[in-house]
Amino acid sequence: MTHLVAFPGVDAAAPHLHGPVQASRPHSELPQRLRRVRFPGGYVLSPDPASSDAEATLRPRLWTRLSHALIAVSVFLLLPSGLQIFNAHPALYTGEVSRFDAPWLKIGARERGEAMEGYLRIGGREFETTGVLGWSGPPGEAEKRAFPAWTTLPGYRSLATGRNWHLAAAWGLGLGLAAYLVGGLAGGRLRRSLVPTRAMLAPRAVLADLAAHLTLRLPESGGYNLLQRLAYLAVVVLVLPAMIVSGLAMSPAVHAAAPWTGDVFGGRQSARSAHFLGAGLLALFIGVHLLMLLLHHPLRRLRGMTLGVRETRP
């Protein structure tokens, strides 16, 4: 299960990975030029033509690691600042404008006897969410706010500060994703490592992959399996780009120049809804991504994706 949490772009599917280079030989037995890859970035920054791409493919390239870092930091800032912005008007609509009497999602608070209670309403269904959504805060200092303080940036209520952070961090995501996609498409790595192979899509293979995931017994072989490929592919070519377009659609200046940004979602308020739902999908993806990291060699993986230190296989 060594590749479950690796970021797409780790071109581990290449057949030569199973050659001798990746065997767990003691460090001292490795030739000098291979030992050098154990130092952060050294191998990539001063490529040795003789060392080919055998060990380069064992860990993310510098380009991938840098864009991953930029995307990760940006999303880490975008999610909580986005919730701060959402809190300014915690209701979602479909279409071009807000029909204030008919939000499809609304978070609010109301009096219930002596106390206040928070609620979440989706369609016709209502859930009591006191303490988390609608009404939250330390005892005696609880306040009406859609998402609680510990989920927003900043923690206190400030739409202005939330927007400052969100609109700055959006540049990080845009540039990081562009760099990642350009690097991935140019080298053909995205296609090789993320697009499911024909063999993977055979019904029997699909069932086997599903069964393996359901029983949490994942193959140790190199490369991403089908579900990983689909999840990563969906995030990098669908969810993240859709977050950027739906975010742009909410800008009145962008909408004037490029109304299609709103139209593809069915209107500005639909775009705002899609932006919110996309953020939910991203949070879910990141949760699973980090959980898998924690469950499988977290330090080794973390070093691989940040410093580019080569993975050794068990």
Partner: protein, 256 residues
């Protein structure tokens, strides 16, 4: 694990989380950090100006798209005595002042304003809070007003001074104001609106005259305009950031 140790650990975790949140908040709200983040505002405005035609019109909608429930935000019933007196007289004594860096300062009553070249447009209003609503706005186009006053070459911004005090605790700095540059001032859809949905502006929506500056968020659309001042820069006015909300941390360029 004993109950007391568990309580103690839980308290430690809660204290740690609170310390982390407060540290984040200190960084998030630090003036220097926020000033740095404002660099992105320059980037956004610069990118919009480079990529988009300055004359691009905001989308206009059919009358059937007009919102039945258009919220009024900010001041909805100014208590300022000057404004109260004007409203009581049906704005008969209202004069829109145009001065500052102009050749010929103006004082226009509503009849004079209505006699100027006008435009009527059904556009979408996007509040910074996140909601949108559509209305028909009718008013004098700002560009011909500026032609009549004759902008001096050093004029770069228009400051809209308003009648309403939105933050009474801030004294004179609590009065609403806004500013736009000449790209937006000369835009075809920029209006001194005196009608909404075919009837004179209501007090809640900014009577007798409000700004329409399509392609920017709602707070730029100053209501209750008393005076338009042409300036070379606005750093000496109120908080110096070019608007009531700008002085309170919001972006001056509200195109995003």
């Amino acid at each position: 694990m004993t109950a007391s140790r568990r309580t103690w650990l839980r308290g430690l975790a809660a204290a740690g989380a609170a310390a982390l949140v407060s540290a984040c908040d200190r960084i998030a709200g630090d003036p220097a950090v926020r000033a740095g983040l404002k660099g992105a505002e320059q980037l956004n405005q610069g990118l919009h100006r480079v990529l988009f035609d300055r004359r691009t019109l905001a989308r206009e909608y059919p009358d059937s798209a007009i919102s039945p429930d258009f919220p009024a935000n900010g001041s909805i019933s100014p208590g300022d005595p000057t404004y109260r007196a004007l409203a009581a007289g049906g704005f008969a004594d209202y004069r829109l002042i145009v001065d500052g860096l102009v050749e010929r300062p103006l004082a226009l009553d509503l009849a004079a304003l209505r006699a100027l070249p006008s435009r009527s447009q059904v556009t979408r209003h996007d509040c910074v809070e996140g909601w949108s609503a559509i209305a028909r706005w009718t008013g004098a186009r700002l560009a011909p007003v500026l032609d009549q006053a004759g902008l001096k070459p050093e004029a770069r911004f228009l400051v809209f001074h308003c009648f309403d005090t939105l933050d009474p605790e801030a004294g004179e700095d609590g009065r609403y104001y806004e500013s736009i540059d000449l790209v937006d001032a000369l835009h075809a859809q920029t209006l001194l609106a005196y009608e909404m949905n075919g009837t004179p502006l209501s007090i809640a929506h900014g009577a007798p005259v409000r700004l329409r500056v399509e392609r920017q968020l709602g707070y730029k659309h100053a209501k209750y305009i008393s005076r338009i001042e042409a300036v070379a820069d606005f750093s000496h006015i109120s908080g110096g950031k070019g608007g009531f909300w700008e002085d309170r941390g919001y972006e001056w360029y509200a195109g995003i």
